[in-house]
């Protein structure tokens, strides 16, 4: 290995390239930091805060914190995992997440994080918001009940699909996903079932119609491997090459 700058993650040296954030460098070095709204193909924006770790004494979102030589990152601590557990509980309490009846069960990042972080109880009183379902599109179902406001579909539609189908409106606890049509319905947008925005949803908010339970529960992505292992497979690994 040539002279790459490094920082310390839980006592282990992690090399990084210029412009990488702490999370990006960790993942490409094969080190897992729990995360939700981060996706290797998109600019990190740091809203879910699940990837928070202690960096040189301060707690910050590692997905947006630029890696600097010599920094000391504490991630796999009970304190940080406790914090992440609470954040995941908050997301569960905020929306309407009923895993047993959700088509995304087993493929869902929120659920997988819950299992991996050891979320055993709801922790907070559920808010049970009233959110309608948008079934106006022939091929795509939009279930706002399961939206975790990660903005991945917003970013994907804008940056990859070049469409801007999704955006956020409202603020605070009323913040919500909206779609780009006068009627406000997905069926009136130019979204296509092949769009990146459809594929990228980490939960069961954007689903393809007509594919229900094509893969049986028990054989799905995070049924087979915990997210902490799966996420490393998904991360770009410039040096060693990825698993295919």
């Amino acid at each position: 290995m040539s002279e790459r700058a490094t920082f310390e993650l839980d006592g282990v040296e992690v090399p990084f390239d210029d412009g990488q954030t702490v999370l990006q460098a960790a993942l490409s070095a094969g080190r897992y930091i729990p995360h939700l709204c981060y996706h290797p193909e998109f600019t990190p924006h740091g809203s879910c805060k699940v990837c928070t770790a202690r960096v040189d004494g301060r707690t910050v979102a590692t997905c947006t914190t630029p890696a600097r030589p010599g920094m000391r990152v504490e991630s796999e601590t009970e304190e940080m995992n406790g914090l992440r557990r609470t954040l995941v509980q908050m997301l569960f309490a905020e929306g309407n997440h009923f895993c047993p009846s959700c088509e995304a069960s087993g493929n869902c990042v929120l659920q997988a994080l819950g299992y991996d972080l050891g979320v055993m109880t709801a922790g907070f009183r559920h808010m049970f918001p009233v959110r309608p379902v948008d079934a106006s599109h022939p091929d795509i179902l939009l279930d706002f009940n399961r939206c975790v406001l990660c903005e991945l579909c917003v970013r994907a539609s804008r940056e990859v699909d070049g469409k801007g189908v999704f955006a956020l409106s409202g603020r605070g606890i009323d913040k919500h996903l909206i779609v780009n049509s006068e009627s406000g319905e997905l069926g009136d947008t130019d979204i296509a079932v092949t769009d990146k925005a459809v594929e990228v949803c980490p939960v069961g908010a954007i689903l393809r119609k007509g594919l229900g339970f094509a893969v049986p529960i028990g054989s799905r992505r995070y049924d087979r491997r915990p997210i902490s292992a799966q996420a490393l497979d998904d991360a770009p690994r410039p040096r060693e090459g990825g698993h295919d």
Binding site: S47, E94, F124, A167, L168, S169, R171, I173
Partner: protein, 626 residues
């Protein structure tokens, strides 16, 4: 596709006018929407669609921005939109009962539009009229002292359908209430005097003048001695930001000056939203020239040619007077090109209005708003000093900080440093309100004790003081010897006084509602946490609280402290923590159980069935209720 058909709708003249005024610039989206709101009283869907089409941006983006700001209404409002300020000081002046009475008298439900479409009534966050509350906004215009008498008058004017332009002027007369002047409020400087002084500081060095003239037009007067001389004076003064965080002003200006990019901006943060603060209202109303002198000096130091004032929407009534001041200064050669005859010294200022969002007082959220987006704080680094407005190096300073810079230009850094304490140079203007005989502005050298302020303002039987608003610190009588200074009690200016008749639990609950209402919703901990905090406090308020709730609150706090995206989330639990620590009985006397009490009251839920069946015998009640 489906749009082409709907294009048949006639174009909206208000949309056309707003777009023309704003140069069809998507970056001006907040201003365009705000002007449409003023014209229509709300934002009709057709107008939003037209704005999106004309600006070439998605309708979803337009709706997203419209949905972020509290003053932008996406539902029809009454011909008269009446907003009652809901700060704790307004409540102390009876705003809740007054609003209920006002609604009854007009047959309108809070949050709704009256059947005849005449009036809609709702609450809004602190309007900066705490010294002359309760505060009211009617169609965006501020009315102070909105007590019973005034509200009767307002009601009559509404029922008469009198256009608001024709309402008696005295309704809108807002007092300065300056109770104590020191260096800043008593400066007595003439317009431009401080800018002139700043230029003259280096006049002795003749050689630098040519260098300054030459380099200015090229963007950064790196080699100019004049700006550096002034900057050194700011450094010597020890001036720190007055918005609360207390960052060293000279360091901020130097970093901006040193940033490589050529175009720079000076932005005045006049989005004074911290509940209980109203000092900027007075500085903008009566000391605007001092502020503009300060902005011009900042521009001189960093090499900026453009300045912006981000004026909070609640101070909409200050827009015209400020525009008039800008115009007067342009005529006097104090804004525009070649200021004070100095060739190449160009600087002008424009004003942007906010539209009801506290978080836009955070400097990077403010920049987002200025650029026509939802007011979400940015990720940092990079910082605004290198990547600010439109990605250019930008200085964002509080109104009071810029005014202080003007004083330093005239009197020098050593003079300024001689006022105040070792770590807190100069004076601080306090916005004193609540249970005091003489509410208003008090300017003290840093280091003044809370007790001295209380005495001068005529406070009696004081139970607590909220220093620097809900994001600051709540202290009790044992701490009144503490000092207003960065090294003890730092403050952005709010000084809200509660006497022993007040219930500190309700104070904290009001503040918690404020934070939940103003959370931008970007990050999980703040979006969900502030809302949960409200849920817990409301449950205790309903008499269904237990120790479980107190524990739950103490669980939320570290999560917000550790992981929230910005200061709003970091400080959102402060009012509850401070009052729990100092006034715990105010919480405990409300608890019904030491373990857990469900929020759902089965017996109360049976009330409707009892009414329907006309029963009230023991058998119609749930006996198991504790």
């Amino acid at each position: 596709m489906d749009r082409a058909r709907k294009d048949a709708a006639p174009p909206d003249p208000a949309v056309k006018a707003a777009l023309e005024r704003r140069g069809r610039d998507p970056g001006q989206l907040v201003q365009i929407l705000r002007e449409l709101q003023e014209w229509h009283g709300w934002l009709p869907p057709a107008a939003l669609a037209e704005v999106a089409r004309e600006l070439g941006i998605t309708l979803a983006r337009v709706r997203g921005v419209a949905g972020f700001y509290a003053f932008l209404a996406r539902e029809p409002q009454g011909l008269y939109r009446v907003l009652f300020a809901d700060n704790v000081t307004d409540r102390m002046q009876g705003s809740q009962a007054l609003m209920a009475e006002f609604c009854r008298s007009l047959w309108v439900e809070p949050g709704k539009v009256s059947e005849d479409g005449l009036v809609s009534v709702a609450t809004t966050s602190c309007t900066g009229l705490c010294d002359q509350g309760p505060g009211l906004l009617v169609n965006g215009r501020a009315i102070p002292r909105a007590g019973r008498e005034r509200l009767v008058q307002v009601r009559e004017l509404i029922l008469d359908r009198r256009p608001i332009e024709g309402w008696p002027e005295d309704l809108f007369a807002i007092e300065d209430n300056v109770r104590r002047r020191h260096a800043l409020l008593g400066s007595g400087l003439r317009p431009g005097e401080a800018v002139k002084a700043a230029l003259e500081r280096a006049a002795a060095i003749e050689t630098e003048r040519a260098a300054s003239d030459r380099s200015w037009r090229e963007g950064v007067p790196q080699d100019a001695e004049g700006p550096l001389v002034m900057l050194r004076e700011i450094e010597r003064s020890g001036l720190r930001g007055r918005g609360g965080a207390g960052f060293t002003t000279a360091a901020k200006w130097s970093a901006c000056r040193a940033a490589p990019d050529g175009t720079r901006y000076v932005i005045c943060n006049a989005d004074e939203g911290e509940p209980g603060t109203f000092k900027d209202r007075v500085l903008l109303a009566s000391h605007a020239d001092l502020l503009l002198d300060g902005m011009t000096i900042a521009a001189y130091c960093v090499g900026a040619r453009e300045g912006l004032i981000y004026l909070r929407g609640e101070y909409r009534y200050l827009l015209e007077p400020l525009e008039a001041t800008l115009e007067r200064r342009r005529r006097a050669g104090l804004l525009g090109r070649n200021l004070l005859g100095r060739r190449g010294f160009d600087f002008d200022v424009s004003i942007h209005l906010g539209a009801g969002s506290y978080v836009c007082g955070e400097e990077s959220a403010l920049l987002e708003s200025l650029e026509g987006r939802r007011g979400i704080p940015r990720n940092r680094p990079p910082y605004p000093v290198t990547h600010g407005y439109l990605g250019k190096p930008t200085v964002v300073n509080n109104v009071e900080t810029l005014c202080a810079a003007a004083l330093i230009a005239v009197h020098g850094g050593d003079w300024y440093r001689s006022i105040g304490t070792a770590k807190s140079a100069g004076t601080k203007i306090l916005s004193v309100a609540g249970d005091v005989a003489r509410p208003g502005l008090y300017e003290y050298p840093f280091g003044v004790t809370v007790r001295e302020v209380l005495e001068e303002a005529g406070a009696e039987c004081t139970l607590a003081v909220q220093v620097s608003g809900p994001s600051g610190t709540c202290i009790d009588a044992s701490e009144f010897g503490r000092r207003i200074a960065f090294e003890d009690l730092p403050t952005a200016g709010a000084f809200t006084v509660f006497d022993d008749s007040r219930d500190m639990f309700e104070v904290a609950r009001n503040y918690a509602h404020f934070f939940a209402h103003e959370s931008c919703g970007f990050c999980t901990p703040c979006r969900v946490g502030t809302s949960m905090l409200v849920g817990i406090l409301d449950k205790i308020h309903r008499g269904r609280g237990s120790l479980h709730e107190l524990e739950e609150m103490s669980r939320l706090n570290p999560v917000l402290q550790a992981s929230a995206h910005c200061g709003l989330g970091h400080t959102a639990c402060n009012p509850v923590l401070d009052t729990l620590k100092r006034f715990r009985p105010a919480y405990e006397r409300r608890l019904t159980s030491l373990r857990f009490a469900p929020d759902f009251d089965l017996d109360a839920a049976l009330a409707e069935a009892r009414r329907m069946t006309g029963r009230d015998d023991p058998g119609a009640h749930f006996e198991g209720e504790a």
